[in-house]
Homo-oligomer: 122 residues x 4
Amino acid sequence: MTEEHLALSSHDAHEPPADGSAVTAEGHAAHGYTDNKAAYLRRLKRIEGQARGLQRMVESDVYCIEILTQVSAMTKALESFALAMLEEHLSHCVVKAAQAGGAEAEAKVAEASAAIARLVRS
Amino acid sequence: MTEEHLALSSHDAHEPPADGSAVTAEGHAAHGYTDNKAAYLRRLKRIEGQARGLQRMVESDVYCIEILTQVSAMTKALESFALAMLEEHLSHCVVKAAQAGGAEAEAKVAEASAAIARLVRS
Amino acid sequence: MTEEHLALSSHDAHEPPADGSAVTAEGHAAHGYTDNKAAYLRRLKRIEGQARGLQRMVESDVYCIEILTQVSAMTKALESFALAMLEEHLSHCVVKAAQAGGAEAEAKVAEASAAIARLVRS
Amino acid sequence: MTEEHLALSSHDAHEPPADGSAVTAEGHAAHGYTDNKAAYLRRLKRIEGQARGLQRMVESDVYCIEILTQVSAMTKALESFALAMLEEHLSHCVVKAAQAGGAEAEAKVAEASAAIARLVRS
């Protein structure tokens, strides 16, 4: 997927339909992170690179402690990715559900809380 | 943080409920957790008991690994407390701010996200 | 875990030091942390104080986010306590077992690894 | 690097030189994990696959919460990898240093403790 494509799909997302369910060029529902898709993909690409870097370290018999240092850095990168995505989710999906109110608001808060619990415990 | 400071900070409690949100008998602003205060206090009491139990273990020269096991249990209890309080906060304060919309909604989401990041990283 | 249980478990303390490892005045087996007992107890006393501080915050209807900030601080304090105790355990108990070699070394490493896993996952 | 090759290099590692610094066919120093290199590489390969899976999810506008669930799974996989490698490190490098004793033992314990602290805090 090219940057241009990403720019397009993030452009679409700037004017969501009145019902709030933005739809990308491909017909997928857009979510909180859609506007920053390119940035999220770059972060994940870097994390994938860290996973490959770790494989090269193991293949080359790099010292255990250095490998563990890299794992910690990769874990932190993954954590930051998750926190950014979570904030986006709260700002968009949860705020929208809160405005709809009632059962939808409750369901979204419960769902977000369960996701937060998984992050805190992992 | 001193007792006095806590008393003060609870008095001018952060966001005066202009919209008629509940105020306790003592005149404090009520927050998400107010309805379940007794349950939260019981959890914290147990956690305090765990901290005292750890002191007795150290005083009695209990084996390090058993102490570490107790620390893990206490950390998990603290984590669960935080996750329960956070869910309450999202359900009440954040949902209310989302309904108010605009800058208030944004501020509450940013504040909640920062608190989540501290939990995930601690 | 009751006071009685703790007293008992410290009495028949886990591995009688057949090899002449230090025994305290009370007849308990000394562990890695014994030399720094006072410092460990002070840390735990502070952590207990944090647990009581949290109760005062909840009683005074302090804002949820401030409570969560205190929980994060307390979790970090607990984590630091555990890491200090673990380092002491590795320096003393694990090093001693490694010098004894064989099954004892293996058992101590497996036990320490399990404790580390519990800390990482909590 | 093929499984056969890995089998060879792990075979070498079974008879380390008297000075404890095993050397593989390529002349790299072997570490604790050398015997299980193929297994470690398979784990990292799966983790790399998870990073790519996340990119496909973002590209296809998958719902935020599902992405966060995958991030938690990936974090756990990374954590398990680290814990396995750490146990191997304690069993081999730290035990060997403990047997050498003195400054080397102290240095290895301090180094391992710092790595554990990074894992616990990340």
